[in-house]
Amino acid sequence: MHMAHILTSGMGGIRTAGDLVAWMQITRKMKLDEAKKHVAGKLGLAISDLINEEVMRPIREELGIGVITSITGTAKGVRAKLKIARLLGIRINSVELFKSQIG
């Protein structure tokens, strides 16, 4: 059932920019349109590009913010979130903990 919602209405997660828009909703309480606008602005893209795999796939790899496929040596997990926090200008709790641990 979740898959039906993801395919019907979802933004595509780390396949596109769904995770980035979601970060803005939970860290800044941004409504959907504002969150999309913020992310598009930070990426230098049109809002319509946020769900376009053709655009987002190479950008995610270039920025090191995690891509959907497993590419050896590229950032994923907390290392990608570190860059996402910097890109979007937000504080992510797990990233703050990680930063405190690596000194």
């Binding site: 595509g12 959907i68 504080r91 797990s94 703050e96």
Partner: protein
């Protein structure tokens, strides 16, 4: 069946209805919501649009490109490894494996984990085990990763908990005793929610989901609101999101309030406002599905509540669209024809910020 539209009842039964019957049910559903909550009905344009979604002959439907929303979940990855009573398909996976599959193979916008019981009370004695799994998994995940559970104040009443059960006291007319029992249970619950929340914050929790708030009534809802406020102050970098348990808050106590507003009988647009006051970052609107009514009636009714809430709340509003809520049929395996129609309707007519 010539001239009839293939659709469903609220229990998932396949039925064929005429266009006129569906339009009548759309009007009846939105009128029911509007009358109950004193909010506007769907406009005639909205009703026409909903009819278009419901009468679309394809098996599934989807939103127009550009209208996509954030899809959060309530422990979806648990469905990969749990059993039938959790809606699970019983695949032998660890929690981390299930979560990573949901993120990377299913392309979920957010991900989550929770205890199998999915209530906060049983989490407390095993909190260190939960912290360990959360922390290890959070190092691997990229999308926002929630820990979720239900306040579920019912577990604090006898025979499961220490307090007298209001369901025993109220039929005897012991209203004062029932209220006092709920107040004590709510304070206990609040402390447990804050305890678990602070522990999760200590391992870098990216978001805490108070799911199905108010399932035991207004005092249950109050405990969640107060805990959200406590955690917003104590752990400001850990977002708290809240979801309701129904379209109005049951007045099991009847007289508790938050931020000067009585909680009993509160409808979603007001629920979202008190959640916002408590510091919640997202509020999830839950509207129960009536199994005796059609999909058209149920979606029209649920979308009416969601539209009012989404267009008046200052925080993001997500529509709950699981089994038996948000117009989705109440059954173990909701048909995807109905699920996708509820999904699209919530986004394009209800103006939800997410699901």
């Amino acid at each position: 069946m010539r001239g009839k539209i293939r659709t469903r009842m609220g229990d998932g039964e396949l039925v064929f209805m005429s266009a006129g019957e569906i339009k009548e049910d759309i009007l009846a559903g939105t009128s029911d919501a509007a009358c109950n909550a004193n909010i506007p009905e769907l406009t005639s344009d909205d009703q026409d649009r909903l009819f278009g979604i419901l009468s679309e002959p394809t098996r599934t439907v989807s939103v127009v490109p550009g209208n996509e929303v954030i899809v959060t979940d309530d422990g979806c990855s648990m469905s990969f490894y749990s059993g039938q009573d959790g809606g699970g398909v019983g695949v032998s996976l660890s929690r981390m494996q299930a979560i990573l599959i949901y993120e990377r193979a299913c392309a979920a916008d957010t991900i989550s984990m929770g205890h199998s019981d999915y209530s906060f009370k049983p989490v407390k004695p095993i909190i260190n085990f939960e912290l360990n799994d959360y922390y290890n998994t959070s190092m691997m995940t990229t999308a926002p990763f929630f820990y979720g559970a239900q306040p579920n104040m019912g577990l604090y009443f006898q025979p499961d908990g220490p307090y007298q059960n209001p369901a025993d006291l109220l039929p005897k007319g012991n209203i004062k005793a029932a209220q006092e029992a709920q107040e004590a249970a709510a304070e206990h619950l609040r402390k447990d929610l804050v305890f678990v929340g602070k522990k999760l914050n200590s391992v870098g929790c990216e978001g805490l989901n108070f799911d199905t708030c108010g399932s035991a009534g207004d005092a249950d809802f109050l405990a969640a609101l107060e805990a959200a406020a406590d955690l917003t102050e104590a752990a400001p970098n850990m977002p708290v999101i809240m979801g309701g348990s129904g379209e109005f808050v049951l007045g099991m106590h009847g007289e508790v309030s938050f931020d000067g507003k009585r909680l009993a009988g509160m409808y979603p647009h007001d629920q979202a406002k008190v959640a916002e006051s408590a510091g919640a970052r997202i509020y999830g609107v839950a509207v129960g599905t009536n199994t005796n009514q059609s999909l058209a009636w149920n979606i029209a009714r649920a979308v009416t509540f969601v539209k009012k809430t989404a267009t008046t709340a200052a925080i993001p509003i997500h529509a709950n669209v699981g089994m038996g809520v948000g117009g989705v049929p109440m059954m173990e395996a909701p048909p995807i024809d109905s699920v996708t129609r509820a999904s699209k309707s919530m986004v394009e007519i209800g103006k939800a910020d997410g699901l």
